[in-house]
């Protein structure tokens, strides 16, 4: 028996087995590609943003359970949210992953929901990159949409 329950929580495996919002969106939705060169994971994030709101989002690509589950959870939480909320959640998530410091500017009342389950990843530093791949790609997509 393994001690991996922390990493592979049921909700993570659920998102991995039944990913939400998996697929593509046709233009004018934007498509942003991300990759983790070390392990070969690749992801595409499709974004339909209008009036400062993420109206729709999809992801495709391949990767390990953590990167796939994290992307799935991400789409679930950001869909329908205003951009400011999306960015705040992303920031909060990166703080959870210990790759961004809490500079006090993030509202403390942000609910991460399912995503909290990913905090076990922190104990496995090499997997942090997997967990944030989708998020970083999303942020890149938002940056290019808003310009």
């Amino acid at each position: 028996m393994s001690n991996l329950e922390d990493l592979y929580r049921e909700v993570i495996l659920d998102h991995y087995r039944s990913p939400r919002n998996k697929g593509e969106l046709p233009p004018p939705a934007t498509c942003t590609e991300g990759a983790n060169p070390l392990c070969g994971d690749e992801i595409k994030i499709f974004l339909d943003v209008a009036d400062g709101v993420v109206r729709d989002v999809r992801f495709s690509g391949h990767g390990c359970s953590i990167s796939q589950a994290s992307a799935s959870m991400m789409t679930a939480i950001v869909k329908g949210k205003p951009l400011t909320d999306v960015r705040a959640v992303a920031k909060r998530f990166k703080q959870l992953m210990t790759i961004e410091e809490d500079d006090g500017t993030t509202p403390t009342d942000i609910r991460l929901g399912d995503i909290e389950a990913l905090q076990g990843v922190v104990k496995y530093p090499v997997r942090i990159k997997c967990a944030v791949l989708g998020w970083n790609t999303l942020l890149e997509g938002l940056d290019s949409t808003s310009t």
């Binding site: 392990c39 070969g40 390990c64």
Partner: protein
């Protein structure tokens, strides 16, 4: 006679490391091998009792150290049956050796209208240096494809070699384990008027190497995969070829004369060893060669064939179709390196679960992305063995895969 693996393991201190109170099972030797005490001790004893700059200083300790350094060169030359020690150039790793081949030989010999041949199973170290140069020089890169059973498809080799100036290929795939017919490839190259460059990283540590019998023109390999230290690699090449090649790195030691307006090169092998070499590491590599000779390369190869058989049987007996091994099935045609897919579980997850059982395999593209694309995998898990690998390592792998099944 087979290896006394238990006794050999005692010579590798890392193999008795425990993690979480339990023994470790190191199955990543294709990536880098562990070091026996004799290598570690040769390095630290040298630093404690005999360290000195070499070559450029003339006092007694300096010539003692130079002799030790050159002695290691002779050992390496003997290990691969080189014609002369001056054909052995010490680099920092096999990657530098291959870059040296590309930047020195290639830059001098390849231009528009020229072509070289690589294979679909090359490591990035034998692809990117050529791509970098091709971008600049505009020559063509042609590729030897694979057969469905993970061998090089040699049916169109002569055609690919027509008009090519070189073929550069791996003697053993670091992903598939496939052992390539180096001699046949070298002969075909020569028949076409091309030179043959062999990436020996995966074969030199595991079986007898004879550059003369092979007929190669250059051979690159790394110390750290053959029980030696990090920080040193080898480029062997025929003397006439090295003589004709322009220098690669410029600096102290590689020159004969320097004026404000020009310089002239030193003799071989100094010409290609600019700057202070990895003195301690070369001494360590010499000790590693002694160690491998003592163990016996024939015996190492035989042991790895046995381990290959054992692993094949154990894995397929337990998991049948749930495991797919990317590579030749005949143990005589392959090394003890297994890339595999386990059910539809991502290799990263496989290795994570195995890690929890102290079973250390590598997951990823193994620096062979073109090959990964060709075999249709984005990544694989890879278990690779060496002279110190034993049945307990394989058993631990097989058992731990059960846990992968239970989680995913």
């Amino acid at each position: 006679m087979t290896l006394d693996v238990a006794a050999l393991r005692d010579e590798f201190p890392m193999l008795s490391r425990r993690v979480g109170g339990k023994p470790i099972h190191y199955l990543d030797s294709a990536n880098s091998s562990h070091k026996p005490n004799c290598v570690i001790d040769a390095m630290s004893t040298f630093m404690r009792e005999a360290y000195s700059p070499i070559g450029r200083s003339s006092y007694a300790l300096a010539s003692e150290a130079s002799n030790a350094y050159e002695g290691a060169r002779s050992k390496v030359a003997g290990f691969i049956n080189a014609y002369s020690p001056c054909e052995v150039v010490f680099t920092k790793n096999a990657t530098e050796s291959l870059n040296l081949a590309a930047q020195s030989w290639g830059r001098a010999n390849l231009g528009k209208g020229d072509a070289i041949v690589l294979t679909h199973m090359e490591h990035h170290a034998n692809i990117v240096p050529w791509q970098m140069l091709a971008k600049e020089k505009g020559f063509e890169i042609r590729w030897v494809p694979l057969t469905p059973d993970f061998q090089l498809d040699l049916s169109s080799l002569d055609q690919l070699l027509r008009g090519a100036k070189a073929i550069s290929f791996t003697s053993m795939s670091n992903v598939l384990g496939t052992i390539n017919p180096t001699r046949e490839l070298c002969e075909a190259a020569h028949a076409a008027g091309a030179i043959a460059i062999v990436d020996g990283c995966q074969s030199v540590p595991h079986m007898t190497t004879d550059v003369r019998a092979m007929g190669a023109d250059m051979l690159a390999f790394s110390s750290h995969k053959m029980c030696g230290p990090t920080g040193v690699g080898v480029l062997w090449a025929r003397e006439a070829l090295l003589d004709a090649m322009p220098p690669f790195l410029g600096g102290g030691g590689m020159i004969s004369e320097v004026r404000l307006d020009d310089f002239t090169c030193a003799e071989l092998p100094n010409k290609f060893e600019a700057g202070t070499p990895p003195i301690v590491e070369v001494i360590g590599l010499g000790a590693a060669v002694d160690f491998l000779n003592r163990v016996g390369m024939t015996e190492i190869r035989r042991h790895e064939i046995e381990m290959t058989n054992y692993a094949y049987r154990a894995l397929t007996a337990r998991y049948g179709d749930a495991i797919t091994i990317h590579g030749p099935t005949n143990p005589e045609l392959r090394g003890a390196t297994f890339s595999f897919a386990f059910r539809d579980v991502h290799p990263h997850d496989v290795s994570q679960v195995l890690d929890q059982h102290n079973v250390y395999v590598r997951a990823g593209h193994h620096c062979a992305k073109p090959l990964m694309r060709i075999i249709g995998a984005n990544a694989t898990a890879r278990a690779s063995m060496y002279l110190y690998s034993n049945e307990a390592d394989v058993d631990a792998l097989v058992d731990a895969l059960d846990d992968v099944s239970s989680i995913f």
